[in-house]
Symmetry: C2
């Protein structure tokens, strides 16, 4: 059997990481790469910094690559929003290729974009291919893992979970989105005009949990507060003086009749250790029985997203056609042997 | 659509718990009950102690119940071993009913009983029904949860996990199996003659993890050591004086070329708190990245097994025919709404 053939669409930090991970794996290979105009013509290996050529030239012409390169699946890592990937996904489907995207909203796009979700599902089914949105969060920590953990409960009354992580490794884009390095006033203005938006995923994770468990919610609310530093903190891209914003405490709540039934908290900041904040992933299920889980330190965001996306490839190739989510597929897992050993069809 | 109809086969502690859980749920009902001769003719409701009749008479004649009562699935809770349930499972399949069993060996029976596994798979397929073995452990804590958690890893080098729990709530059978209340000498003799056997599940959980992740192992080894109490401990069924055995430290190891790649530790004892042993479930993945998870206190064994078995009913009814395991099915979860909402076919 031929190796599983992957086209990497988007070779920024996440996309590059996926290519590197696939290079380390058996039974799977990258056969094409699509990225922005500025990277057109570069060798993929040189671009991702592995110190050697891969003989794959990055193209900025998706139509051409999808038409000319034969592949089983496209890994799409270019945007966080359904509106930023829907045309690309439809194009991928129309070429009869499966797709995994790390666009956060695609993890469970039915609430934010019901119409586009339906269109993607239809075009995937019409072409006999499967589309999945995944990543570390949404996609794993604050949804898949919570859903899985609930299996040992006879009943679930309320769910609270928190992902407390360190933003220090991330670059300028993330700092801007999270409002790091701003004054409190600038942060508030950024929230208002949408330039500071925190985490993308609560409108996905909360309905995914609710639908999986059959918990009724009638509203999803979000709060975004500045995390104000009491000390000097800095990364290679940003400096935060005392009184300035070092992160965004973004929370999402699923409510029923005004009462919180699902609460997800995601305070993200640079250098939390400076003020003795311990990072970690936490899940508390109030039910029968109560369950309290922690992962310390937290699952690292970048690696976790790269790994989840690549590890889900066989499950997506095995799945029935259409737009699917993590809750529809078999339990996810790492793959240490030949990827083809995990194909069932 | 009719409610999902369940026959409960085995109404001891676990089976009774399953019936009670189903009574609290929507879209699903118990329609028949099978148990030993001594419970023949009793009303199921009175037998399980809910203080009212259910109008279901416990029968000790499986053939009769399976022939006369129409049901979608049988919950089988009578034994830990494949050899103790295989005839029953085959009978259930031949009546074209699906089956979930909490027999520990059935969670992943391919190593302990390859021939019987094949036979069960064949008879299930021939009758268009699905058979699943599950429970809290094996079935969840030391396999499904570990496998799921590995999804965020680019690679996994070694897995260590521990389930440290309290045996105090359990009855005489469990105390005997675990050697609680014996002298060290009696314990050692019990291990030798098989009357003390500790946990049933390492030959299932370890290969399940290895197969799911594609980690090679060439041997599963087990060690069983007495946990010797330094203090007086007692439960309603057993008294342990200092120097006597209060539990069994049972460990399972998956090895490759003599090196441990999967280590599962399961020390079970009565009243661990007396000697400051904290109960909990722990998973450590050595890989890229390392992951350290804990659940404190541990997932309770009885409720966890009951919940997992009942919660998996829709997934089993949705599954393709044959003998399946937790790693083949969609992510498990609690069900708080009508069970029929989770059926896809």
């Amino acid at each position: 059997m031929d190796k599983i053939k992957v086209i990497q669409w988007g070779v920024g930090n996440m996309g590059s990481g996926m290519v590197k991970m696939i290079l380390d794996k058996e039974g799977i290979e990258v056969v094409g790469a699509i990225d922005r105009k500025e990277n057109e013509g570069k060798d993929l290996g040189e671009h991702i910094g592995i110190g050697r050529k891969l003989g794959i030239t990055i193209s900025s012409d998706p139509e051409k690559i999808l038409r000319e390169v034969e592949a089983d699946i496209v890994l799409l890592a270019i945007d966080s929003f359904v509106k930023g990937v829907e045309k690309q996904i439809k194009l991928i489907c129309s070429h009869k290729m499966n797709c995994i995207t790390i666009a956060e909203e695609m993890a469970y796009p039915f609430i934010a974009e019901p119409e586009l979700s339906k269109e993607i599902d239809e075009i995937a089914k019409a072409n006999g291919v499967t589309v999945l949105g995944t990543g570390v969060n949404p996609g794993f920590v604050l949804d898949t893992l919570i859903i899985t953990l609930s299996a040992v409960c006879r009943s679930v009354k309320k769910i609270r979970a928190a992902r407390i992580n360190d933003l220090s490794p991330f670059g300028k884009t993330v700092m801007r989105e999270q409002g790091v390095g701003l004054t409190v006033e600038e942060f508030m203005k950024g929230i208002e005009d949408g330039s500071v938006y925190g985490h993308v995923g609560f409108e996905e994770s909360i309905p995914m949990i609710a639908d999986a468990l059959g918990i009724e919610i009638d509203e999803v609310k979000q709060t975004k507060e500045p995390i104000i530093s009491n000390t000097h903190r800095e990364t290679k891209d940003v400096v935060v003086e005392p009184g300035m914003v070092c992160g965004c405490n973004h929370c999402g709540y699923g409510l029923k009749n005004g009462e919180v039934v699902i609460a997800l908290e995601h305070p993200q900041q640079i250098h939390p250790e400076i003020e003795n904040i311990e990072t970690g992933d936490y899940i508390w299920i109030e039910g029968d029985p109560n369950i309290s889980l922690c992962i310390k330190p937290e699952v690292p965001g970048g690696i976790g997203t790269i790994a989840t996306a690549v590890n889900m490839i066989p499950h997506v190739l095995n799945a029935k056609p259409g737009l699917v989510t993590m809750k529809d597929l078999p339990i996810p897992h790492a793959i240490m042997n030949d990827f083809r050993m995990h194909l069932t069809k």
